[in-house]
């Protein structure tokens, strides 16, 4: 894993010498990807069957497994690329360009879809969220924008933090608000994608929280976010619907799109509930044969509940918790503020996806249409999450050996003693 060239370059640039990365991240991610593949292998034939019937397509039994395998392969490539590409490449000036590219692509998508009606802009429920790129698959520019916001704000807040101006309204909070507001506008209003919007908010909030912003300001920001959330919900009929569906539960009857949501929630609950303690077993899911919408994508958690039961879901929750705690563990030990904020942002990103998806499937939150990281079928989500984890994996080489205390430089001097490996605290403290 150690790349001597990268090591040399980084050892010059950083006060902390690189050491062994946190392998647990690869382990948890690998297990989750493997689980996703197994489930897709079992579900693929049924899924192909349902799709072929509904859309007259001609998918073979192994089509979905093959696609998932390809996605996993691409995800591993992305993970490796982000692991081996020095993080310096992503921060500083370049993060600005990534952000601009994200904005530009979002606008381009909106224009080509809603204004010019070009065929590669794919419409879903009256909004344009994907570029349809034929053989290459589909691409969701909001993912790039999310990345841009994350990297740019990490650098920006890192600088302000070092300048001691983190709590400065003029210098920090207002620019932060503008960037966040603009990107949320793109995602929530132009693409009508509340799910991605919420995960973007989670990214930003995690970053400013970890950056050490004053609690008072943080509470005010939370209040503004909550207010904006309410405004967004009540200005959009389809969001009111979703909330109504959630609040009124099974008994609520409304128009057909709401009934569909209601149906989705009910079927997800049936899938999870009927799994019982040990589940029906691999390949024996009935709900995935067409009862449960989005069985391989957004609803994969419910299908896994039916397949693997309570025990299986506990294992999945444990894997996600372990993965997220590992990320936090890395964040807590990074002396470099920008890197720390990147890792915190990625934590917010993945955590929000996991939580929103599982909460929706178990009926604890309204449906937001967010896939479950690493398990759901779907290339874009998996690609970007794997890339983010690759970055965390790379950054995990630059932690100090224990959580930083006041006054410590974080400099790891163990290398000076020509020890082959850096010892680092493993999971005992965060």
């Amino acid at each position: 894993m150690r790349n001597s060239i990268a090591k040399n370059r980084q050892s010059i640039a950083q006060p902390v010498r690189s050491h062994r990365p946190m392998y647990q991240i690869v382990l948890y991610m690998g297990l989750l990807l493997l689980l996703g593949l197994i489930v897709m292998y079992a579900l693929g034939p049924q899924r192909a069957n349902v799709m072929n019937y509904a859309y007259g397509t001609n998918y073979s039994d192994t089509y979905f497994f093959g696609k998932q395998l390809t996605s996993v392969f691409i995800a591993i490539v992305a993970f490796s690329a982000f692991y081996f590409t020095p993080y310096k490449w992503f921060i500083g000036e370049r993060s600005k360009y990534i952000l601009y590219a994200g904005f530009a692509l979002c606008i381009l998508l909106f224009l080509s879809g809603a204004v010019l009606h070009l065929s590669f802009a794919q419409e879903t429920n009256g909004a344009y969220r994907w570029f349809q790129l034929g053989v290459l698959g589909s691409f969701q520019p909001s993912e790039l924008l999310k990345y841009g916001v994350l990297l740019f704000l990490a650098g920006f807040l890192g600088r302000r933090s070092q300048q001691g101006k983190l709590n400065d309204i003029q210098e920090t909070i207002i620019p932060l608000g503008i960037i966040s507001g603009l990107s949320l506008l793109m995602i929530v209003f132009l693409q009508k994608d509340l799910g991605t919007g919420i995960s973007l908010i989670a990214i930003i909030l995690s970053m400013i929280l970890v950056a050490g912003i004053d609690w008072k300001i943080f509470k005010k920001i939370l209040a503004i976010v909550a207010l904006c959330g309410l405004v967004m919900i009540f200005t959009s009929p389809h969001r009111i619907e979703r909330v109504m569906t959630f609040v009124q539960g099974d008994s609520h009857k409304g128009n057909s799109s709401q009934e569909n949501k209601n149906y989705h929630i009910q079927q997800a609950r049936i899938a999870i509930g009927s799994g019982g303690l040990l589940g029906l077993g691999i390949g024996k899911s009935v709900q995935a044969t067409g009862y449960l919408p989005e069985a391989t994508n957004d609803s994969i958690f419910a299908v896994m509940g039916e397949t693997f039961g309570f025990v299986g879901l506990m294992a999945i929750l444990a894997l996600f918790t372990a993965l997220l705690l590992s990320i936090l563990h890395v964040a807590a030990r990074l002396p470099n503020v920008t890197l720390r904020l990147i890792v915190a942002g990625i934590f917010g990103w993945i955590a929000s996806h996991v939580i929103l998806n599982i909460a929706a499937m178990t009926g604890l939150a309204p449906l937001t249409g967010i896939p479950l990281p690493l398990l759901s079928y779907g290339g874009t989500s998996m690609l970007f999450i794997a890339a983010a984890l690759g970055l965390v994996f790379q950054i995990s080489k630059y932690t100090s050996h224990k959580a930083l205390e006041e006054g410590e430089s974080g400099q790891d001097l163990s290398g000076w003693r020509r020890l082959r490996r850096t010892r680092y605290a493993s999971g005992s403290r965060i």
Binding site: Q46, N49, V50, Y53, A54, Y55, G56, T57, N58, S206, L209, V210, G212, R269, I270, A271, I272, G273, S274, G275, G276, L277, L280, G283, K284, S285, V286, Q287, T289, G290, Y291, G305, G309, F310, L313, M314, L317, F320, T321, L325, L328, A331, A332, R340, A344, F347, A351, I355, I358, A359, T362, G363, L364, A403, L404, E405, E406, G407, E408, I430
Partner: protein
């Protein structure tokens, strides 16, 4: 500052753990505590019960000794569309393909139906053949389903249609053999209980799946011979046209075992074909379902009764007059001017009513058909020949009626008329079955249209038709055959008889009530048998008499 970081990531970690703990509790609630509820919900929405339709039995007629199918099952398909799932681009293409492949079977307004996006179930075409369905399936239209069902197919067209009956849309047999043997033909439907996918297609997964196989209906072989049936229908048609009659029936029975070999039925109602029939009465098998007043053919039975009782012989004589006084009435012969000494055979040849009355009076005190005479005649007619009671033939059947001797209606006048076939209502099947016993040595067989069943591999499993009872003695039967052949030879009909056949017969005409008055033109009947071929035939149709020959 650094402590702050630690506390902030710690704070996030705690928040994460709290949320995860909430998930654990929620999942515990859903999967452990409410497992039963959700399993039940899943079962209710996923499990379906399907009827596995039993294949209806085929029906065969005989061709000599070989059974040949006359009613088969044909798989047909109903084309159903879900307008919501149909690709907009394919819509017009689908309509074009339907028109091209199954234009005749399309339902009305297919294009409009397809555009009705509120609907999820529209029938596009009905009863298309397998070939048509295969062609359509190859085009792979999304949201189009093919539902298989089965209809009856008649390779012999309308041959014997009223004997066969039909199957209605609900799958129940109506009229004919389809109706009377519906239960046997239908078999028993099977049941499939299974977890299904959302399209109701059964899955192999699931715990409570079960399958009870359907039991196909029996394949029935009819006694009816398709050649005789065809000839019967042709001859009947010719006879009716020649006589200008409105309807007629023929029944051909093998007197040696009571099997019906042909059963012709014709009325002007059916000229447009059975499929177009607007009136269900075209399916009525008059031979078994419509009682009629048989007329002089019954003289065979009254003379047989008297001979069997030993009160007369064919050569006994009596003094014939044109009319005879019965109680307060006078009954006369149709053929007048034959006063004087007359043999019983002569009375039979000339169909003299006075002759039968005289003969039956001998069962009593000689001058009256008194109660003992009536009781004897009733015993023969009803108990032995089976008149006025259902025969048990496997077709829709009426019982007809004859008045018992001790009833007020069963007086001397009525019984005198009954000696020459009037004042009684019988079905052709009853008369035919009784007549068979007169010529076959006195053995009464249950009339039947059923030979047996045909198994999967096409082997005929025939069931023997047993003698039910003895009607008259063998000697009486032999004397009756002589009387009948003699009568036949004296008749103008014998001119067309082929040599080498022993043919005997008796004509019959009765008065029928038409517009409230007795007219001479009632039911005209003729009853005869061909001995060499051991086939017995009787023709009766309203309006006139007709001969029928078997040329096989």
């Amino acid at each position: 500052m650094q402590r702050l970081i630690r506390s902030r990531t710690g704070w996030l970690a705690i928040a994460l753990l709290v949320v995860m703990a909430a998930f654990v509790l929620r999942l515990f609630q859903l999967q452990i505590l409410q497992y039963g509820k959700y399993t039940e919900l899943a079962r209710a929405s996923q499990q379906r019960q399907f009827i596995i339709p039993a294949e209806r039995g085929k029906i065969y007629m005989m061709d000599g000794k070989t059974p040949v199918p006359v009613v088969l099952n044909q798989a047909v398909y109903t084309v159903i569309a879900d307008p919501q799932s149909i690709d907009d681009k394919e819509r017009s293409q689908l309509v074009d393909s339907l028109r091209e492949i199954a234009g005749g079977e399309m339902t009305e307004n297919v294009s409009e139906r397809l555009n009705n996006k509120k609907s999820r179930y529209e029938v596009l075409a009905k009863n298309i053949t397998r070939t048509q369905a295969e062609k359509l399936k190859k085009k792979n239209f999304a949201g189009v389903l093919y539902q298989q069902s089965s209809i009856r197919n008649y390779p012999e067209g309308e041959l014997g249609a009223h004997v066969l009956g039909f199957v209605n849309a609900a799958g129940e047999g109506q009229y004919g053999v389809e109706g009377s043997l519906n239960k046997q033909l239908k078999g028993r439907d099977g049941l499939l209980q299974s977890v299904t996918d959302v399209r109701n297609i059964p899955l192999t997964v699931g715990k409570n799946n079960m399958r009870i196989e359907a039991k196909s209906g029996d394949n029935l072989a009819l006694t009816v011979d398709r050649n005789i049936q065809n000839q019967t229908e042709l001859a009947l048609k010719k006879g009716i046209e020649a006589a200008g009659a409105t309807e007629g029936s023929v029944i051909v029975m093998n007197p040696k075992n009571g099997q019906v070999l042909g059963n012709g039925e014709l009325s002007d109602l059916q000229s447009g074909g059975f499929c177009q029939a607007e009136n269900g009465s075209v399916f009525v098998d008059s031979a078994s379902m419509v009682p009629f007043e048989p007329g002089s053919i019954i003289k065979s039975f009254s003379f047989a009764t008297a001979i069997d009782k030993g009160v007369i012989t064919p050569s006994s004589t009596y003094n014939n007059t044109d009319c005879i006084k019965v109680a307060d009435r006078t009954m006369c012969n149709a053929l007048r001017g034959l006063d004087g000494t007359m043999t019983i055979q002569g009375a039979f040849n000339n169909s003299l009513n006075v002759g039968t009355i005289t003969a039956i009076r001998k069962l009593g005190n000689g001058s009256q058909i008194n109660l003992p005479a009536r009781q004897t005649l009733y015993e023969y007619y009803h108990d032995k020949f089976g008149f006025g009671a259902k025969t048990g033939i496997e077709l829709g059947e009426a019982s007809g009626y004859i008045y018992p001797p001790d009833s007020a209606e069963g007086n001397e006048v009525r019984y005198s008329a009954m000696t020459y076939g009037q004042s009684m209502n019988l079905t052709m099947v009853q008369v035919a079955a009784g007549f068979s016993s007169l010529v076959n040595g006195g053995q009464y067989y249950k009339p039947t249209v059923l030979v047996g069943t045909i198994d999967e591999s096409g082997n005929l499993k025939s069931s023997e038709n047993k003698v039910i009872r003895q009607t008259v003695s063998g000697g009486t039967s032999s004397q009756m055959r002589t009387m009948l052949t003699t009568a036949r030879r004296s008749s103008f009909l014998s001119k067309s008889d082929k040599s080498g056949y022993e043919i005997g017969g008796k004509t019959g005409t009765s008065e029928a009530v038409v517009n409230g008055a007795y007219t001479q033109k009632g039911n005209d009947c003729y009853i005869y048998w061909l001995w060499r071929w051991k086939k017995w035939c009787r023709i009766c149709h309203n309006g006139t008499c007709s001969g029928s020959r078997k040329r096989d």
